[in-house]
């Protein structure tokens, strides 16, 4: 009976004080929303950057020839080191712990033709393991270069996403024949779209890959531009790098201590650096989130505090009419809880709607790739709503408790 009448009074006053209550709910919802959205976009950016970082491939080492800077065994410095296909075979046999290795021949200004359409693009000659190392993943219903292609020097081509789009537009490329420098090639696969924030000689989506054997046959190149390998165990990268350097130094007769003889790009080192940057971003976001939470908390506190203060007279009237302290407190507590609950829920709902909207928008371009993929963190969302709720609750409770502890005459005097 008692609880029932308390609930009835509560409901009645909720209806009466819509403006104040909706204001508080708005403050709570907005606070929750700002933090959740801020962190969602931050986390989205973080993830997209990580994905973009993986565009080049992770855990790989890219090696190309350089110039000697130290005279060695009677050979002067400034000698150019040119890599060959045989070097790759040598390393395969001599250096243990290499999981994949692939040569890469690389030519620009090739004419790719389909019907009347013709473009000038870069063509690379590679091995099947290139797929895994450099994330040349095929779209559904297509494939990358396989060992049989390589062995038989097949004239097959794997197209970068962008080339395929420009050549074929809405048609399906797989199974069609295109001309590369007037030589017919069968399209066997198209790359899955990818974002890539580190690259050499342009993004992968603008390249066409053919088997290295075919490449060599057509272009007759004696040298390869570079080779790429992936250690089995990332922890052993540095040892393997040394072994590779030494093996090639012996072969090409340069000082193994000559750091200029070969140019080595170790993406594993890069990744460690990037991890630090990501951590930095996360700390930054955490600080901003925390500050926003404080700002939102101050807003909620203000509204709750002022409204509880403003109602001191009302509390006085009720106490004069015989309301007990627990009734006054129950009223404030249940009101604050209700407001916190609704405010949090509205904030969460708004966040989901906004994130959903962003994902549904057909945004394109480099910036959209990085920015338009917000990721909501459920933990942060509920934590934020809860913290704001508790702050608002306490901010309302204390003045109410104080008012309810006054002698009624004091509360009545409050204007």
């Amino acid at each position: 009976m008692k609880t029932l009448y308390l609930l009835r009074m509560f409901y009645r006053e909720l209806r009466r004080q819509r403006k104040r209550i909706s204001l508080t709910i708005f403050a709570l919802a907005w606070g929750t929303f700002s933090i959740v959205i801020l962190l969602a976009f931050g986390e989205g950016l973080n993830r997209q950057m990580k994905i973009a970082n993986q565009g080049l491939g992770t855990g790989i080492v890219i090696v190309s020839g350089g110039q000697t800077s130290i005279p060695y065994k009677g050979l002067g410095k400034g000698r150019q080191i040119l890599l060959r296909k045989e070097d790759v075979e040598l390393l395969k046999n001599k250096v243990p712990g290499i999981k994949y290795i692939s040569p890469e021949g690389d030519r620009y200004a090739n004419t790719l033709t389909l019907g009347r359409k013709s473009f000038t693009e870069r063509v690379i000659g590679v091995s099947p393991s290139f797929e895994e190392m450099r994330t040349y993943y095929p779209q559904r219903g297509s494939r990358f270069i396989n060992p049989v292609d390589l062995q038989n020097k097949r004239r097959v081509v794997f197209l970068g996403t962008e080339i395929a789009r420009r050549l074929f537009e809405n048609e399906k490329p797989v199974g069609k024949t295109i001309m590369i420098n007037a030589i017919p090639f069968l399209v066997i696969g198209v790359m899955q779209d990818k974002i890539q924030n580190s690259m050499y000689n342009g993004p992968d989506v603008d390249k066409a890959a053919i088997p290295y054997s075919t490449y060599q046959t057509i272009y007759g190149d004696e040298y390869i531009q570079r080779f790429i390998y992936m250690p089995e165990d990332i922890a052993r990268t540095s040892a393997i790098k040394d072994a590779v350097y030494k093996a090639l130094a012996a072969k090409h007769k340069f000082d193994p201590k000559d750091s200029q003889a070969l140019r080595t790009w170790d993406t594993i080192e890069d990744e460690e650096l990037f991890d630090k940057i990501f951590l930095g971003i996360q700390i930054f976001m955490g600080i901003i989130g925390g500050l926003t939470l404080i700002v939102a908390g101050v807003g909620v506190t203000n509204i709750m505090y002022v409204s509880a203060k403003k109602r001191t007279k009302e509390i006085g009237i009720k106490m004069a009419l015989g309301a007990k302290k627990r009734y006054v407190l129950f009223q404030f507590v249940s009101e604050a809880l209700m407001i916190a609950l609704i405010g949090g829920a509205v904030g969460i709902l708004l966040s989901f709607l906004t994130v959903g909207l962003f994902k549904a928008l057909p945004l394109e371009g480099d910036v959209a790739d990085l920015m338009a993929h917000p990721v909501i963190s459920a933990d942060i969302m509920f934590l934020t709503a809860m913290i704001l709720g508790v702050i608002g609750f306490l901010a309302g409770l204390f003045p109410a408790r104080k008012a309810a502890s006054l002698r009624p005459v004091e509360a009545l005097r409050y204007e």
């Binding site: 015989g322 002698r407 009545l412």
Partner: protein, 230 residues
């Protein structure tokens, strides 16, 4: 009937001091006053004479600095917060100069409030609320909010509210202070009716007509009783 059973209020050497330290204001000094059941007391005196302070103490809205206050022969000092709330709820009805109605609630809801605090069943409560509003001539105004009512009407709502739990004592602090002469007279007439019906009534007022209506006029001056009218 002996005096013990007949006593409504007994004040023994009640004092009230406001402020602490150097600046002290003695609002009430050694007040001795006895009010019997079914008395109609007019409490008069110039501003600052301690009338409201006295009424607040009698209504258990405030506590005296010293002295003893017996309400229906029980020393109020022994009551806790909740017990005092109960006394105010069930035994005392208040009418204030500035009405003290809840602004967001209708006349009906305002009158209903003390019964809600007491836990009166819905049906009884609704019936009684309408009856009380009818009694003060505002049955038709039940759904109106205070800002839609005139001063006289608001005060009548407040009177209906003070009667909600049929209290033995009705305390009115300047009930006519914010009203024009005619409305004021109407309000005083209602108090007189209530007195006839058996309520004990204490009215603080400046209204000179009170002396004609009240049974006894108590005059305060500078926190002391100048004339207890007995």
């Amino acid at each position: 009937m002996n005096d013990e059973e007949n006593g409504m209020i007994r004040l023994n050497e009640i004092s009230k001091v406001y402020g602490t330290g150097e600046v002290k204001v003695e609002a009430l000094k050694w007040i001795d006053l006895e009010i019997k059941k079914n008395e109609f007391i007019g409490l008069i005196g110039p501003s600052g004479s301690g009338k409201s302070t006295l009424m607040n103490i009698m209504g258990c809205l405030d506590t005296p600095s010293s002295g003893e206050y017996y309400f229906e022969d029980i020393n109020v000092e022994s009551f806790n917060h909740n017990k005092l709330a109960e006394i105010r709820n069930e035994r005392i009805g208040f009418v204030f100069q500035n009405f003290n109605l809840l602004p967001y609630a209708t006349a009906f809801e305002n009158v209903e409030l003390p019964m809600l605090f007491m836990g009166v069943k819905t049906k009884t409560r609704k019936e009684r609320t309408m009856k009380l509003l009818d009694k003060v001539g505002l049955a038709k105004r039940a759904r109106h909010k205070p800002n839609e009512l005139s001063g006289g009407e608001m005060q009548r709502v407040a009177i209906a509210r003070s009667l909600a739990n049929n209290p033995s004592l009705i305390l009115a602090d300047e009930p006519t202070g914010n009203l024009d002469t005619q409305s004021g007279d109407e309000i005083l007439a209602i108090f007189q009716d209530l007195w006839y019906q058996g309520h004990t009534i204490v009215v603080i007022t400046h209204n000179p007509n009170i002396s004609g209506r009240a049974q006894r006029v108590v005059k305060l001056k500078d926190g002391s009783i100048e004339n207890n009218g007995a």
